[in-house]
């Protein structure tokens, strides 16, 4: 039996039953990486010796009856913007080529303490800026459902690795949709927690007020189990929620009877949405209604301003966060510069890709003298209006449903030279980041061409348990999540 067909929790049961060892699981994952990743190109760095050592330690713990937790021994991958001590961390950028992290991110520490072997670092759009992983400074990752297509982004490597069963689960980050959108395009589950639920310490920052870390898995239950490990207050992150997280699996099978699920008019009216996507999502909402939920039309009137709001706030914060990449203390330094100014300019010109430069320019402009009020400050005020829209909606519904992405996976190369077209990929996912809410995508259908479609569930702040429960209710009655990608051989 090929262990890689198991979900995380199924593997955990097998480990507990001793029908499998963690070392076998890691080996199976790494074998699959060897066979498939030459084509999928999800990994930037594979840590074979580290993962095996961690697996051995896990097996020893299990043998002595002291497992570190429910997922002890289950191998996962990490988007390459989590600092992993002693391993390379590039954030998908050439400016950090060769950078060896001197410390572990808090979430990495948590995974290690829970006993999960770390397989390696996964490809991404450079500094998390992108929706297709085409902006990686190294190479684009391919969609396991069709290798000519993008897996989405920026956590494209994480999504592809999980979808292609090269890792049992993975960690991604989501600033404007970067977990949910690739999850939708690759047919897996991806959750962005409430802002502040998971520590950002040791996560290369893109947009500080929007970034969140989240799990990417093949099942909703796996997602809940992985989230549980991550959702721990962190005194090293001043924006981290100091309160202990609830048990995300306690009510997971509770169903949706009696729940009110909102359908935001503005989302479903968006021009440019693929009719197959609309049909699949509408069918999904009907299915949930048949399970006992009521569907309630709601309005989020400021939705149309979310794109502009996001594309002023995120690049502004990013332009500041990326100033540290200056060639002085780590990373790339352009040599042959005659003076400091040249060194800065050449280092950053050589090290950053075009999309990153574009956003740095946009963000710098939005903050610059004379423009701060009209751009950045204005956007932060509109953000408040977007938040209020959700607060009002949540007075009458328990969750909001929508498509995750307006289209299914698109061709690599199709949108990359048209930034505005690329930005439209995130119209459904952005508002949730602006409002700081939890959001999850899970598979809800396929296009005629066999490409996955994702359903997005948004919840009240700190209400991840309900979001997971709704997702599980849907998942229980369907088998979209069981289909294996057809783009790569078994």
């Amino acid at each position: 039996m090929d262990p890689t067909t198991l979900s995380m929790l199924e593997l955990a049961s097998a480990l507990e039953a001793r029908s499998l060892s963690s070392v076998e699981a890691v080996r199976a994952s790494l074998d699959r990486v060897e066979r498939l990743d030459g084509r999928v190109k999800a990994f930037l760095h594979v840590d074979r010796p580290g993962a095996l050592a961690q697996a051995e330690a896990s097996d020893r713990r299990r043998a002595s009856g002291t497992p570190a937790g429910p997922l002890d021994g289950v191998p996962v991958g990490l988007k390459d913007l989590f600092l992993t001590e002693g391993l390379p961390t590039t954030a998908g950028s050439r400016i950090l080529e060769g950078f060896i992290a001197p410390y572990d991110a808090t979430v990495v520490k948590l995974l290690k303490a829970a006993g999960l072997p770390l397989l390696g670092k996964l490809n991404m759009d450079e500094f998390a800026m992108g929706s297709s992983t085409e902006n990686s400074g190294y190479f684009p990752t391919r969609n396991p459902w069709n290798l000519d297509l993008s897996p989405g982004g920026s956590s494209g490597g994480s999504a592809a690795a999980v979808a292609a069963r090269m890792a049992f689960g993975a960690l991604g980050t989501d600033t404007g949709g970067s977990i949910r959108q690739p999850a939708a395009l690759t047919g897996i589950v991806g959750l962005k927690p409430t802002y502040g639920r998971v520590s950002r310490f040791g996560v290369v920052a893109f947009a500080s007020s929007l970034d969140q870390v989240g799990p990417m898995t093949r099942t909703v239950a796996d997602c809940a189990a992985l989230l549980q490990i991550l959702a721990v207050p962190d005194p090293r992150d001043s924006t981290s929620n100091p309160e202990v997280a609830p048990d995300y699996r306690a009510e997971l099978e509770g169903g949706v009877r009696g729940m009110k699920l909102g359908l935001p008019r503005e989302y479903f009216e968006l021009p440019g949405m693929d009719p197959e996507v609309r049909a699949a999502v509408e069918a999904a909402t009907s299915a949930l209604q048949k399970q006992g939920a009521s569907l309630v039309p709601v309005s989020l009137p400021h939705t149309r301003y979310a794109l502009a709001t996001y594309y002023l706030i995120a690049p502004a914060e990013a332009s500041s966060n990326l100033a540290r990449y200056d060639g002085v203390r780590y990373g790339l330094r352009a040599f042959g510069a005659k003076n400091l100014l040249q060194m800065y300019g050449q280092t950053r010109d050589q090290g950053f890709g075009l999309e990153v430069k574009r956003r740095i320019m946009l963000g710098t402009y939005a903050l610059s003298a004379g423009y701060y009020d009209a751009y950045y400050l204005k956007a932060q005020k509109v953000r408040t209006l977007i938040k209020r829209d959700f607060e009002e909606a949540f007075a009458s519904v328990d969750a909001v449903l929508s498509p995750t992405s307006p289209t299914a996976a698109f061709r690599i190369g199709e949108k990359v030279s048209d930034p505005l077209a690329m930005y439209l990929n995130d119209v459904f996912t952005l508002p949730c980041n602006l409002a700081g809410l939890p959001g999850m995508s899970l598979p809800c259908g396929f296009t005629r061409a066999g490409l996955p479609i994702g359903l997005q569930i948004l919840g009240r702040p700190w209400d991840e348990a309900r979001v997971l429960r709704i997702g599980r209710a849907f998942e229980r009655e369907h088998d979209f999540h069981r289909r294996a990608p057809t783009g790569v051989g078994g």
Binding site: L81, F82, L83, T89, A91, L96, F99, A101, P102, Y103, A105, R200, F201, G202, V203, V204, A205, A207, S208, S209, P235, R236, D237, S238, T239, A316, E317, S320, L322, A323, R324, D326, V328, R329, Y330, L340, Y344, T364, L367, S368, A369, Y372, Y376
Partner: protein, 480 residues
């Protein structure tokens, strides 16, 4: 030079390092003098992925300073990023405060020629210090040490209420004294833990608008403050009088040449692109904190000065010396209490012998080997006539170096004056009988002989005669 037609207008910005053990946003030590980059971590190195966490003591110290300077403490203030590129600024931005600082609208009283005046303080805010960039004079490189990166600073900004370089120096000294009293800063200009920038402009005396102001940097002693400001005033007046304009710029003070120089290329107008720091929530002061800190504020230098003058009847001059150091002032009061005698006498011992000995030995007051009871005892011995002033100085020196009891020292050195009137009388009698000729001369009107006779008695008593007693006895015997 018609400088007198012009009114200088000066505002001062002081950056003071707060005396916390660890940095403002990470746990690295703030201790001075370590090898380069020995006190750094991922956070203060500006590594990818790091986040700031505020040191609670920084807030406490800043509120202390704010209340001592009469400021309003804002219950909510905002952290901001100040963005610019420099090798000693690892994140490429400094976490500071901009739109809404922690403290506002305070004041500091200084003494001017026209009497005391309050210089208004516009704001006090918190920020992190940058590292150090050392230009390698020989090579084409600069060396960056980030030990100082992340040390907490308060920035204290005055309104442009100062009208001369002398006033500026007064303000700085008074401000430094307060911060040192509060134990939030060590007041060291030379080492850079107390830094000052001056904003200087001039206006014609009947003008209604301020002139263009120039920022002066790199002033690291009180003497230079005076010189730099005076130079700059003269420079600006000369420019204006020759029909030229004062440029809005930053200038460096060159201590060697005694002049200010434009900073040229560094001064493209900086666009710092301030925005609220997303990694830190607004600084919210918990209820009760300000009140508690206020209660615990020590008596401040100016108040102590006035009280010393009043309570101890000291001159302003003496009081100022005693009050300059809070520990010295405290020690004075402890000795005064134990002594119970005239404060002026005690003050003389402080301003004279004690300070001199401290300076010579290079020790701090905290390392003093003796305590208030002993100094009090010494003074009482002098009052009781047991020691002459000179002998007491001797004893004091020994007390200072060994901490032994003054009585023991005096006895050992044989310095205790003979108080016994019988012994004095006997000695006087002996000298008078041995010098009948001098007695005659004295009785005949040659009063200078008295001194000779006193000397003889002292010699006979081996210098231990109490001079007052000797004088009295001689006079009595000689019939006056």
């Amino acid at each position: 030079m018609s400088v007198s037609d012009f009114q200088p207008v000066i505002g001062l910005e002081v950056h003071g390092q707060l005396l916390t053990k660890s940095k403002i946003f990470c746990g690295c030590s703030t201790e001075f003098g370590a090898p380069p980059n020995a006190h750094t971590c991922a956070v203060c190195l500006g590594m990818p992925g790091v986040l700031p966490v505020l040191n609670a003591q920084v807030v406490e110290f800043a509120i202390r300073a704010g209340r001592a300077l009469g400021c309003r403490i804002n219950p909510v203030s905002i952290w901001a990023r100040k963005n610019y590129f420099y090798p000693d600024l690892p994140k490429g931005y400094q976490i500071s405060q901009y739109d809404l600082p922690l403290c506002e609208h305070g004041g500091l009283a200084i003494d001017t020629d026209a009497g005391p005046r309050t210089v208004r303080i516009r704001r006090i805010h918190l920020e992190e210090d940058a590292g150090k960039n050392v230009h390698d004079p020989g090579g084409g490189e600069s060396l960056v040490d980030l030990n100082r990166s992340g040390v907490p600073l308060v920035e204290i900004v005055s309104e442009p209420d100062l009208r001369s370089s002398a006033e500026a120096v007064e303000y700085l000294k008074a401000l430094r004294d307060i911060l040192v009293y509060l134990e939030v800063n060590d007041g060291n200009l030379e080492e850079g833990s107390f830094r000052c920038d001056a904003n200087v402009s001039v206006m014609r005396k009947n003008a209604t608008e301020y002139g263009t102001r120039v920022e002066l940097k790199n002033i690291n002693s009180f003497r230079f403050v005076q010189k730099a400001i005076d130079y700059e005033i003269d420079r600006q007046v000369e420019l204006i009088e020759s029909g030229r304009k004062v440029a809005l710029e930053t200038r460096l003070y060159d201590a060697v040449k005694g002049e200010t120089r434009s900073m040229r290329s560094k001064e493209e107008a900086h666009d710092y692109r301030y925005f609220p720091e997303p990694d830190l929530p607004p600084l919210r002061i918990p209820p009760g904190l300000v009140e508690r800190i206020e209660k615990e504020l020590p008596e401040l230098p100016r108040a102590k000065l006035e009280r010393f003058e009043k309570e101890y009847g000291l001159s302003a001059y003496d009081a100022k010396i005693l009050v300059a150091d809070r520990a010295l002032a405290d020690f004075f009061e402890q000795v005064a209490k134990a002594y119970g005698g005239p404060a002026k006498k005690l003050a003389n011992w402080f301003t004279g012998e004690l300070l001199r000995l401290l300076k010579e030995a290079g020790t701090a007051l905290s390392a003093l080997r003796f305590g208030p009871p002993q100094l009090a005892a010494l003074l009482k011995m002098v009052d009781a006539g047991e020691l002459s002033n000179n002998a007491a100085k001797d004893v004091f020196a020994e007390l200072f170096h060994t901490g032994r009891e003054p009585k023991d020292i005096a006895q050992e050195k044989g310095l205790i004056q003979v108080q016994d009137t019988g012994a004095v009388d006997a000695a006087v009698d002996a000298v008078l009988s041995a010098n009948p000729g001098e007695v005659e001369k004295y009785r005949a009107g040659k009063k200078q002989v008295f001194g000779f006779l006193v000397g003889q008695v002292m010699r006979a008593m081996k210098g231990k005669g109490n001079p007052a007693l000797v004088n009295a006895a001689l006079k009595a015997r000689l019939g006056e």
